[in-house]
Amino acid sequence: MDLAIRRFGRPSREMVGVYQSATTGDAPRARFLLCRPLGQEAVRTAAIYRVVGERLARERCESLRFDYHGTGDSPGSEEDQSLSGWLEDTLAAHEQLQTDADVPVIWFGMGLGATLALRAALRARKPPTQLVLWEPVLDGPTYVRQLMEGHQRELVRMFRVPWERLLDSGKAVNPSLPGDILGFHVGQQLADELQNLRDVQIAPALRRGVRVLCAVPNEQRGQFADLTGHPEFHMHNIGQITDWMSSQAMGTAIVPPDLLRAVLSTLD
């Protein structure tokens, strides 16, 4: 189960990725691109990406997990980033996997990483064969509101005093975009793009021949009613909801078992 570092992307948008080979030397069954969510969610889900990579390796699959430019361990500054830039990053990462036409390439993304993957799949010269979208961000303004609320909730939990007292003491300021939120800086372009992020469309990806597995909480299933019955579209109901924006239980690594099953189901 070998790890190899991949440094890729344009010189001005370099990224760092970890390529995990299969445990056996046989030809891989599939290659997976693992697209992280952003900010605190990327931190909280880091263990998932390692565990998924290791599990896939045992299934004779290769995977690439990477940090978008300006995030995680990759070069770049947070304040200069944008959804459009990260979409290009996703496509650049995809190219790292397209070395053998016979091996299917499957993308897995969580949160905003899932949304970016869906959009990138419409732009890819050769799209992935399958997409696994885990809790994709379906509405930008709602996501921004969740970030704001998560920011307040997190600081109140960490300092263990009410928000108003935190403001009075100078230990916190009301979050705003652009600005600092949940420990990460969001610049003007990203703030604008998040506010305008609406109408996540899966049908165009299906028309490109991409099989889609979408995992959402039960209350969001209705948004995909028009796709019910489509042979290449599958829904997964997430029973146990986890707040990935919170550092609660930061000493533990949570990997939902149904997430692993969903990823592995793409090999059936």
């Binding site: 790890l3 880091a46 390692r50 997190e154 960490m158 263990r160 005093v161 600092d180 949940l182 420990g183």
Partner: protein, 293 residues
Amino acid sequence: MAEHTLTLGIENHLVATFTPADTATSSAPPIVALLSNSGVIPRSGPHRMNVHLARRLAAQGIPSVRFDMSGLGDSRRTGSTLPVVEQWVADTRSVMDAAQARFGCARFMMIGFCSGAEVAHLVALEDPRLRAILFWDLYAYKTVQTRLRTFLYKLRRAGLTGAMRKAGERTLGLFRSPSAEGGNENGRAVEVSLVPPREVFVQRIQTLTDAGVESLFVFCGGEPEWFNHRGQFKGMFGRYAFVDKVAFHYLEVSDHLITSAAAQQAFLDMTEAWLKTRVLPATQVPPSLPLGR
């Protein structure tokens, strides 16, 4: 800045990113910084703090390496049967070997966030190359004033009725088996292991101080039941000889994960000041006593 990420370790299981100093010189740097995990947070650090630190240090001429210990971030678990903390100590020493070969410097400082601080002091007890440690929210021991402040904090939080209810529950608890409470006299665990007895920890720090290891103890302002006032550090350790030889900072503006922009800036400024006033001057002085196995 030409950063390099690579895998290393005897099983090639560790992922580490090396950041050189911004300005290349022919001589070796005075010290190399080690940046690692805090709990399960990957090598980029809490809110990417290790990345910010690496860039800030590079500008000061200090190279660094940020890395994931076994089973954290991108690093794989090993086939070793070592207990987890011992494995992390071994991982850190492997990274030091690689960094020494790369940067040509055998002196290291480590920024230890929480569980990383625990690993850092254990590494320093084994390896004399580790010459300076920033301990972030490491072990705290309750003093009389800490307990009083904790009580007042809880009273304020729960209100008089809630406090009386809890006091009643506590009184009832006296009649239960002690093991049913399951609490730790010293407070919380540092994410990985339980807090050692104070005398054990004091002996370790005294050993490091005698060997000339620079220490900066930093506690955040977001742990009202753990470390809740500036004077607690003297209250905990004031009667021990090492206390006058280490630095201490109460970063009240910050929570445990250094979330706000103000806290992040204060942390970076504090670290840079410590580097300039304590760490770099100490690199001119040879170690006082041999350490290590």
